[in-house]
Amino acid sequence: MDIKDIKRLLDALAASEVREFSYETEEYKLNVKRGPEPVPMPPPQAYAVATQPGGPQAPTAPESGASAVSAAEAAAAEDAAAPPSHWIEVTAPIVGTFYASPAPDAPAYVKAGDRVEPGTVLCIIEAMKLMNEIEAEASGVVREILVRNEEPVEYGQVLFRIEPG
């Protein structure tokens, strides 16, 4: 079987309803498996996890096949400076204005290198005149803060990267 044969086989399978296909000879073994249909759009941020508006983040590693694939693709596409894959991304659960500190003259809630525990307030996002505290979901060390004070943030935008532990 050469590459042309494989392509023809895949074309034939794509045109049929077959979702899984195995073929075995003495020389080789071929397994073809198609994803569920319709395949949901992978989220733009592989690690972004939707949570209740105003609620804390629940960053988790991707588990489903679809997001695992996009995570791998995203990792491959990014340059060598990509953050370690086990770091947790904290994303904005709502649209609003990012505040690093509780008041203009107060110190920031957290800075890079700070240790956080579940429930530690990381920042505030102001939406419709309401101040929404964004809390850490897991314990770890804040490695990166990606948004500047008073910057507008959109849904799913990465705010912090935390090294768990």
């Binding site: 989220p43 508006p53 609003g96 419709m128």
Partner: protein, 445 residues
């Protein structure tokens, strides 16, 4: 005119609004869900803000995130498109609370006319005919008396009902006697109450709707009517402007629509929907307080841009046109191309459009947000394009639409294009014998 507006919608209508804004020199903010990150309106907008995950309840219906996005970007007004928040009075009210102009009617108008029973009352007050209906019928004698007065056919409906259950069409007193008790029992079993009422039943009506426009200061004009009788399960598939009615009926139905809109001091674009029977009687069914999917047919025959008109009225500039200046020229047909498989009971056909080629040439307009390589998210409705054909006559418009659809190439998914070609080729359609049961009666093998 506004400097910047926010578009709280997606797909082809978000693009339609964006195009209207750009021609007026108005900047656009498009809000989008994570599923629409690569959609055309998002890519073309001056600014785009992600407002939530694919599920509409958390994104396109997320009032707080949408208003935050508007305030953050300094937008002065919000265009809601159709669907989603377009006819939500609370959203309209919240916009005003935050000093954002809602491009549509007042919240109170949406509320009043959105309630079916209230809308019927308002129509009656404005002298607009509604389908004759009875009060709750206490017994068979009351039903007989009503039938005597109104005439057959009539439809028995459960007061507590819905979804077609407990409904019986009756054609004679004998029929009524036979069906009354059955309908009562069906109603009691299904809804826990045997109470029935009756309405005049229209056999093979046409669905005709009038495009109205109000400036909110007492002035209301109309842009004539459309025929939207070609429907499948109450979803419109193909629309035409003008409808095939005589000038007298056209005059009476447009006058009725304007009377109703004037009665509620309507602001912005709206549509009064009517059912028209074979004798030329028409009955008000509902009013839609938004721009409609099929508005391009009206734009093609009147040559006015209804979305830009919405902007003008919302900005307090009033209508740019008087009733005398609105005339109809030629005929326009719109087909809704959806990602559905007509060979398999119109089941959704989401996926990636590997290649697309739209038709062109004289008299053709395509409103679509998709492109080659575009992935149709499974989260929203299946409309991928509206193809509109204009020609001097209906016959020529049909020929032009057939020509356009045979040029159309959409690969990678199934669409309703082949189905539309069959409709255009149908002898009943071609001679205008089109009623709301057309697809069930003429297109089902």
């Amino acid at each position: 005119m506004f400097r910047k507006i926010l578009i709280a919608n997606r797909g082809e209508i978000a693009l339609r609004v964006l195009r209207a804004a750009r021609e007026l020199g108005v900047q656009t903010v498009v809000v989008y869900s994570q599923a629409d990150e690569n959609s055309l309106p998002v890519l073309l907008a001056d600014e785009a803000i992600c407002i939530g995950p694919p599920v509409a309840a958390s994104s396109y219906l997320n009032v707080r995130n949408i208003l935050s996005a508007a305030l953050m970007t300094g937008a002065e007004a919000i265009h809601p498109g159709y669907g989603f928040l377009a006819e939500n009075p609370e959203f309209a009210e919240k916009c005003e609370e935050h000093n954002l102009v809602f491009i549509g009617p007042r919240a109170e108008t949406i509320q009043r006319i959105g309630d079916k029973a209230a809308a019927r009352r308002l129509a009656e007050e404005a002298g607009v005919p509604i389908t004759p209906g009875s009060d709750p019928l206490k017994d068979l004698d009351a039903a007989r008396a009503f039938a005597e007065r109104i005439g057959f056919p009539l439809i028995l409906k459960a007061s507590a009902g819905g979804g077609g259950r407990g409904m019986r069409v009756v054609h004679s007193q004998h029929d009524l006697e036979r069906q009354f008790v059955n309908a009562q029992e069906e109603s009691r079993a299904a809804f826990g109450s045997p109470e029935l009422y009756m309405e005049k039943y229209l056999e093979e009506p046409k669905h005709i709707e009038v495009q109205v426009f109000g400036d909110g200061q007492g002035e209301v004009i109309h842009f004539f009517e459309r025929d939207c009788s070609i429907q499948r399960r109450y979803q419109k598939m193909l629309e035409e402007a003008p409808s095939i009615v005589d000038d007298d009926l056209r005059r009476r139905i447009t006058v009725a629509a304007v009377s109703l809109a004037r009665h509620i001091d309507y602001r912005g674009a709206g549509t009064c929907e009517f059912l028209v029977d074979r004798d030329g009687n028409f009955y008000f069914s509902e009013m839609n307080t938004r721009i409609q999917v099929e508005h391009p047919t009206t734009e093609m025959v009147t040559r006015f841009d209804l979305v830009q008109e919405q902007f003008r009225v919302a900005a307090g500039m009033g209508l740019s046109v008087s009733q005398e200046e609105v005339t109809v020229e030629g005929h326009a047909i719109e087909v809704r191309v959806t990602a559905e498989d007509p060979d398999h009971d119109f089941r959704p056909s989401a996926g990636t459009i590997s290649d697309v080629h739209w038709p062109g040439g004289p008299g053709i307009r395509v409103d679509s947000h998709v492109y080659s390589g575009y992935r149709i998210p499974p989260d929203y409705d299946s409309l991928i394009a509206k193809i509109i054909a204009w020609a001097p006559s209906r016959q020529e418009a049909i020929a032009r639409m057939e020509r356009a659809l045979t040029e159309t190439v959409i690969e990678g998914i199934k669409t309703t294009v082949p189905f539309h070609l069959k409709v255009l080729d149908n002898a009943f359609f071609r001679r205008g014998a089109v009623y709301t049961n057309f697809i069930a009666r003429r297109m089902t093998p």
